[in-house]
């Protein structure tokens, strides 16, 4: 190449690079703008606000440092709602994951009935939870609901599931499990499908014939990453419980079913203690970040099996 041609080629390639840069930035611009406006800026505002004493409608505000957080620690209502949330997650997590796994394994082996079971178990996931929660309220009605009628047949006293402080949260947990099992089942089915069939055949030849051995030696280890993923997603979803509380119990009776998000909602949008609600939201976010960090870490290991 002559010097002139070389120079022209260099200029052309620099032009291309510049064009690529401009195009890239142009393509990314709307998303970046929205990201800043609807995620990042609000996040910053939220954090800053949590250090103030602002209530909605006030004219001004002061910085009070960690005052809101200290108040939260000392607030028995907040502590109770955090505790309730953890209890809820503690009930939902093992059952939603465990049942999802069991159902997936059982359904995976079916040939003709598989589609039927997949559809049935997945229905709750597609349904509008609020609507179904209303139906659940009726199902659990102490006098009119079929569940209590069924219990009556067996000789058990009718229970006011949603008005009994000891039963309200577990009942919501059962509904939460009802809502999630199909989702986890689908995720586990995807994981099961990814296990190569010839592993089971090689195992059959190697003597790994009965169901217990096959599960322990192949199914469970190969499902490892999927299981971790399901655990983390279920934890996050359970932690964000809100709909059933808002529609069925409104946090009652006596705050026994008030969960973290519901407290935030009340403080922020009913009582308008904005700064305090912001602090609670920061706590909420902190927990979620821990869960998500675990999820990211697990996903990293997922690609390890190659």
């Amino acid at each position: 190449m002559t010097a002139v041609a070389l120079d022209a080629a260099l200029r052309a390639s620099r032009r291309r690079e510049r064009l690529e840069k401009l195009t890239g930035m142009g393509f990314a611009f709307p998303a970046t703008l929205l990201l800043v406006l609807t995620s990042l800026a609000p996040l910053v505002v939220l954090i800053v606000m949590s250090f103030t004493d602002y209530d909605l409608g006030n004219l001004g505000f002061k910085f009070i440092g960690l005052g809101n957080f200290a108040k939260a620690m000392g607030d028995s209502v907040f502590r109770r709602s955090l505790w309730n949330t953890f209890i809820y997650v503690a009930i939902v997590l093992p059952l939603a994951v465990g049942l999802g796994l069991v159902v997936a394994i059982l359904v995976y082996g079916r040939k003709r009935t598989r589609a039927f079971y997949e559809i049935v178990y997945f229905l709750p996931v597609t349904s509008t939870l609020i609507a179904m929660a209303t139906v659940w309220s009726f199902l659990l009605h102490p006098k009119l609901g079929p569940i209590n009628a069924l219990l009556g047949l067996v000789g058990v006293q009718p229970r006011a599931f949603l008005s009994d402080p000891a039963l309200a949260l577990p009942t919501l947990a059962v509904i939460g499990i009802w809502h999630l099992v199909g989702f986890n089942m689908v995720l586990f089915l995807a994981g099961l499908t990814a296990i190569p069939k010839d592993l089971y055949e090689a195992a059959a030849i190697d003597g790994c014939a009965n169901p217990v051995d096959r599960f322990l030696k192949i199914t469970w280890p190969m499902l490892g990453p999927t299981t971790m993923f399901v655990i983390v997603t279920t934890s996050i979803t359970a932690f964000k419980v809100f709909d059933t509380v808002a529609v069925m119990t409104h946090g009652g009776p006596m705050g026994s079913s008030e969960v973290l998000l519901y407290s935030i909602y009340l403080e922020g949008f009913q009582y308008f203690h904005t700064a305090y609600a912001a602090a609670l939201t920061v706590v909420f976010l902190a927990f979620l970040l821990v869960f998500s960090a675990i999820q990211a870490f697990v996903l990293d290991r997922r690609t390890h099996y190659g």
Binding site: G24, L43, A131, L144
Partner: protein
Amino acid sequence: MTAIRRFLSLVLVHGFLLAGAAFVLLPFVWMLVTSIKPPDEIFTATLRLWPRHFSAIENYRYALTSAPLLRFAFNGLIVCAGILLVQLLVGIPCAYALAKLRFPGRNLLFMLTLLALAIPVQVPALPLYIALAKVGLLNTYFSIMLPFFLSVFAIFLLRQFFKGFPDDIIQAARLDGMREIEIVWRIVVPSSLPAIAAFAVFSFVAHWNDLYWPLIVISDANLATPPLGMLFFSDAETGSNYGALTAAATILTAPLVVAFLLARRQFIAGITMTGVK
């Protein structure tokens, strides 16, 4: 396995699955059945499943007239469609840029999207609410849709997908004189339709069923999305008209369920996308 053992294991398996299925279907069945029962049958505490007299028309008519249920469904449609449209319009070019183009700040942007993945809508809710209130945009379709216009999930997902798209095809298109924006919409997108369709399903379902944010920004029942509408309706009807309540629940749940039954594969692919996440 001998025939008897196989038979027994089948009985056990199906027994368990059917018991579970019964539990899962219980609310749906009860909802449908109650919505066609007259009030006197609802209020007798018997376990009778099938009604003796049919009140379907009355219940449904009451539900439809005392609450603008169809309006709620319509709102849901507008909101979800609007959200999806903007999500795709904004997300696809951004995902493409992150996957295929080099520009300053690309890595930073990607890191930020990863961070935003962990932030659910409840976090920016407070500040956004205040901002919308100050601008007077509460109680509008726009206010419901705003926080969701950007779907970092879409960007993340599509970026993964676009990364796998062969560079050669893109280079060939450039050589043919196509501008980058055309390449995105006329070449890359058509071949990514399965992923986009699955995401569309995921997004639509998620926002149809969303309660928290609409609850915060909407107080006008005319703009309520299905979950919010149901909440209004059930609060108004506290405890009394179960026939109408279940009729309303049926009407509001039906669209998604029917869509699911028709497009089961897309639904499940969409939901499993979170697995790919």
